[in-house]
């Protein structure tokens, strides 16, 4: 690195000398600009736009959400620009509301269901990809890319149509297969079945990424390990456990962690399908935050919900952040 800088200084200073005799009038500004860009200031100048953006657009909101969570901030205070501190009132109200705990529990179970289905399904698809004929693999990968590429809201819309009570293809198929009870069955009548539809949707969208990542891991397992296992007379299951699973475990950890982060924060699918309904039966923490804050203008209370969400995410993130820093130290 330092070699570059040393080499650059003479290279940078020699050519300008003749140039400055040509345009003498600008030399003052020219030198200033040159000094600015060739000296130690360069990295800081280059980093300035990104740093400023991150601090203003991310740093400040993090501070602000904590401050706001200790304020009484409804529509009245917002329009008058009044600052009314109310200490822990927002938290007290939220944490003593049994509905909040119900929603939190639902969010946790929902996240767990999404993560288990996505990672489990993705692992199965990745292993399947290894064992199919070449052309089948191409077809399968194309289908996965299609599913992955579909915009979230387009997918949500299509799922609503497939699960439609009257003309949805799912009910029609089930009736065709002999499950006549599904004739005009409403999937959005209870919170539980609504959540089930959302979990299916998220799993369908999430599996491609997991499958491709794990398939890359499967390909990375050296063939001689399988040969050795074969020579030792290991069964399929033993081979999977001692060879494939050992190689895949770090990757499985990563995709599990990422799915956990993504699924905990899901808003789009939940809101677009029934806006947390029926009767709040599919409400999760992100929709609660939106409802409390934006829809009903209790910004202080909503900020408290946000802080609780952030704390939960920090707990989830800390481990991964440490891992990344360690990687950084190595290279």
């Amino acid at each position: 690195m330092s070699v570059t800088t040393k080499a650059a200084v003479p290279a940078g200073t020699t050519p300008p000398a003749p140039r400055s005799t040509v345009s003498d009038g600008e030399s003052g500004i020219g030198t200033f600009v040159r000094r600015l860009f060739s000296q130690r200031a360069l990295p800081y100048l280059l980093l300035l736009p990104a740093t400023a953006t991150i601090l203003v657009m991310l740093g400040w909101p993090v501070v602000s959400v904590v401050l706001t969570s200790f304020r009484k901030l409804d529509l009245g205070e917002l329009f008058q620009g009044k600052i009314v501190w109310n200490g822990l009132d927002n938290y007290r109200v939220i944490l003593t509301d049994p509905q909040f705990w119900q929603i939190t529990l639902r969010t946790v179970l929902f996240t767990a269901a999404c993560v288990i289905c996505t990672v489990g399904g993705g692992l199965l698809v990745a292993l399947l990809m290894k064992h199919v004929h070449g052309w089948v693999r191409v077809v399968l990968q194309l289908a996965l890319v299609l599913a992955w590429a579909m915009p979230i809201l387009a997918a949500t819309t299509v799922f609503q149509w497939m699960f439609d009570q009257n003309y949805g293809i799912l009910n029609k198929t089930l009736v065709e297969l002999g499950f006549t009870g599904f004739h005009h069955y409403s999937w959005f009548q209870t919170g539980l079945s609504t959540m089930t539809v959302i979990v299916i949707l998220i799993t369908w969208q999430g599996i491609p990424f997991v499958a491709f990542t794990l398939y890359a891991g499967v390909l990375g397992v050296p063939a001689d390990l399988y040969e050795a296992a074969g020579l030792d007379g290991a069964s399929n299951w033993q081979t999977f456990r001692s060879v494939t699973w050992t190689a895949l475990r770090p990757l499985v950890n990563v995709v599990t962690f990422l799915s956990l982060l993504w699924d905990f924060k899901v808003f789009t699918q939940v809101w677009a399908i029934r806006q947390g309904g029926p009767d709040g039966g599919s409400q999760t923490l992100p929709t609660l935050q939106y409802l409390k804050g934006i829809a009903t203008s209790h910004f202080g209370a909503a900020a408290a919900v946000s802080v609780i969400m952030i704390l939960a995410l920090v707990v989830l993130t800390a481990q991964n952040l440490r891992l990344m820093l360690r990687t950084e130290e190595v290279d």
Partner: protein
Amino acid sequence: MGRTKKRLASVVGLLVAAVFAFPIYWMVTTALKPANQLLSDDYDLVPLGVTFQHFIDGVSKKGFLNSLENSLIVALVAVAFALVAGLLAAVPLARLKFRGRKGFLLLVLVAQMAPFEALLIPMFLMIRSFDLLNVLPGLILVYFAAALPFTAWTLRGFVKGIPVDLEEAAMVDGCGRWAAFRRVTLPLLGPGLVATSVFSFVTAWNEFLYALTFLQDTSNVTLPVWLSSFVSVFGVDWGGAMAASTVFTVPVLIFFLVVQRNLVSGVTAGAVKG
């Protein structure tokens, strides 16, 4: 692995492929089906006729073109900003030694993990105080900030992947530092820039929560918000909804096919390793 086993796996593989492709098949065929076929109790997996009426209706529906335009503007401008600021930050972080480098790296890393969804309330209050509610720049600003850490971090990885010797050789040949970067490193960064911008574009194109919150005037929304209100307001016009969804999907599909090779490495590089 026995032959029958492989055949069995292939059959299962095709079934799985069918499951994953089906919603897209269903979206496109529904959009093409004549209206009377949509609302019937018959079991019809194949369209009995083809009509483009839903596309014509859907596209001419109030607000569609406007929201398409909004989505394009917001996503493209935010990505362009993120690309410029991200590249400016990526180069020193990858190539230069300076005091505080580690601190900047940490800042970018931590920013990348920021739970944007949980910052809705302070963002709303901030954008409101900037007087940027209901106009596109407010949304652009948020998408820019959301895409920036990922962009900077991923591009840093790509810059590091290009041997610095190449630039040094160009400087020995008489190029200045900037010329060496522009003529040697920048062209080699092409694929990285494309992959990074596609990811940021898709994220912005998909974004729903902030679009729903910031653009409260129903005549001025982005495509996801328009589509969601379309379904709840005209719940029965599934042909139109599917046609609009198809139009919504096409740009992303094209992008995905372009960067298909870098898909996984792009995401995992940004999220997991350096």
